[in-house]
């Protein structure tokens, strides 16, 4: 009886309020981290952290860092997608291409980007170019694999159904394979976004002039934990924003799906 009452109370709280509760809990946890001797040096409290961020804005580096990182992320991400889409389709359609490419895509995908960044720097020099190249590679690999899976997993019966209704090869590509693959393309876009951000830190280790990842490293040299923490949180906010936008797109564009993917 008591238990039932509790559940019904919890289920009566609207999701938005839950979000607030969760937010408050995080602030409390943060506060505890900021006073515990073991963690206080790495986790200054919310006021000090905000001040740290303001200092970075006053020093005139914050907007440059944010802008630089966003440009690298979006450029690499977009390029990765533009290359991955046709390559994935060609891999799905032509067996020789698939057999030659796929093992290497899987092989490289399992190497952390941080490991091969120095090689890219040797080839492409320092600055923006190697950053974009590294993010492009990482995004390409994950998106290519995901889209390829989508194209080869198109339900054979749907293609048959279209064919018996008189569909040409072109009709089948445009009106069956493309829409059937769309959920996988959007999953690829979502996975790519998170990879782009993860890779950003590795990419900015290439002697960047500005950038969120580069700044965190350089602040590390002076033990300025407040602006560091602020930057870490900013990266998190960028990530969650990208994911929210993409999830919204998924709901809008692929709401017809029988079951939702993870």
């Amino acid at each position: 009886m008591d238990n039932e009452k509790k559940t019904s109370l919890a289920s009566r709280i609207p999701p938005k309020v839950w979000l607030l509760i969760s937010f408050a809990a995080a602030i409390v946890a943060w506060y505890i981290l900021s006073i515990l001797p073991a963690t206080s040096r790495g986790f200054p409290n919310i006021i000090v952290t905000t001040q740290g961020l303001l200092t970075m804005i006053q020093r005139g580096v914050f907007w440059a860092d944010l802008g630089s990182s966003l440009i690298s992320v979006f450029a690499g991400y977009a390029l990765g997608f533009v290359i991955a889409l046709p390559v994935a389709i060609i891999m799905a359609w032509y067996m020789p291409v698939r057999n030659i490419l796929e093992p290497w895509i899987q092989f490289i995908r399992n190497i952390p980007p941080l490991a091969y960044v120095p090689l890219i720097v040797i080839c492409a020099g320092v600055g923006r170019r190697p950053q974009i190249i590294v993010i492009t590679i990482a995004c390409f690999l994950i998106m290519c694999v995901t889209i390829y899976q989508g194209v080869i997993n198109v339900d054979e019966t749907l293609i048959k159904a279209a064919r018996v209704l008189g569909a040409t090869d072109r009709d089948i590509f445009v009106r069956v394979i493309a829409p059937a693959t769309l959920p996988f393309i959007l999953t690829a876009v979502r996975l790519g976004a998170s990879v782009a951000l993860t890779t950003l830190i590795a990419a900015e280790s290439t002697g960047a002039m500005a950038g969120l990842g580069m700044r965190i490293r350089s602040l590390n040299n002076t033990f300025e934990s407040a602006p560091m923490l602020a930057y870490v949180i900013i990266i998190g906010i960028i990530g969650i924003t990208m994911e929210t936008v993409i999830k919204y797109l998924e709901r809008k564009l692929t709401g017809w799906q029988e079951k939702r993917e993870i």
Binding site: A161, A167, D171, W256
Partner: protein, 263 residues
């Protein structure tokens, strides 16, 4: 049947199908001959593995015969064609299209576009009593409703013959009975030539004019039984003595084949 002048819609001429498997050649169909005339309702029964689906796929043009041929209105079948419509067991509706747009797909493939296609689609949905669900997505429908949409879509392509591959096999008994009744009513009205595969003997007898019993390994036609129960038929027909007699006869033949397969 003698003396009736009817068009030969499908001629299946000595069709043989061999698959190459890891354990060597597997003969799925051997020496299958069958003539299907206009307005006929034919049901094929047989144990699983007797090649009945393979036969349907060859007629549809989705698979090639190893030897022999299928002729549709005198023309040799070399691939799919809109004169041979197919209804699949798994419905095969396009999940990203609404019910109405699924039916419109069939019309658009025939070059009917826009408003005209929409109006015609609604007409076909009316036939299967799904007008209210025109703007729903397939995921919002029950299995029975999905199959009704698939049937409406097949009708919209206006084929000469409907090939149905265990269309009610995935449905629960009650829904299956309901769809049988609906299909019977539709067929009694328009007499669209039907080639219907099932493993349900009762379903075959209630629907068909002729029941083809296939034997397994290799798949071939074992016997053809004329169902002399007059139309209109309904579910009560299943209680008549003649129905039960036919059911016993066909069932014992199918059962023999089933025992053969098990050996």
């Amino acid at each position: 049947m003698a003396g009736e002048e009817r068009d030969l819609i499908l001629k299946i001429d000595n069709v043989r199908k061999v698959y190459n498997t890891r354990n060597g050649e597997m003969v799925a169909l051997n020496g299958v001959d069958l003539d299907i005339y206009e307005n006929e309702f034919i049901c094929v029964v047989g144990p699983s593995g007797c090649g009945k689906s393979t036969l349907l796929n060859i007629i549809a043009g989705l698979h090639d015969a190893t030897s022999g041929a299928v002729y549709c209105k005198g023309k040799k079948v070399t691939g799919t064609g809109t004169e041979r419509g197919v209804v699949f067991q798994q419905y095969a509706l396009f999940p990203w299209l609404t019910v109405k747009k699924n039916v419109m797909f069939a019309l658009e493939m025939k070059g009917i576009k826009g408003k005209e296609a929409e109006e015609q689609a609604m007409k076909y949905l009316e036939k299967v009593d799904l007008v209210k669900f025109a703007d729903h997505y397939p995921k919002e429908l029950s299995g029975g409703m999905k199959q009704r949409v698939a049937i409406a879509r097949a009708y919209a392509a206006d084929p000469e013959v409907l090939l149905m591959d265990e269309p009610f096999g995935a449905l629960d008994a009650q829904t299956r009975t309901q769809l049988q009744t609906e299909l019977l009513e539709t067929w009694e009205k328009d007499r669209k030539t039907c080639f219907f595969i099932t493993h349900d003997v009762e379903e075959a007898i209630i629907l068909a004019q002729k029941v083809i019993i296939m034997s397994a390994r290799p798949g071939r036609i074992k016997s053809i039984i004329n169902i002399d129960i007059p139309y209109p038929r309904n579910q009560e027909t299943k209680m008549t003595p003649r129905f039960l007699e036919l059911k016993n006869e066909i069932w014992s033949q199918v059962y023999q084949e089933y025992l053969e397969v098990r050996k």
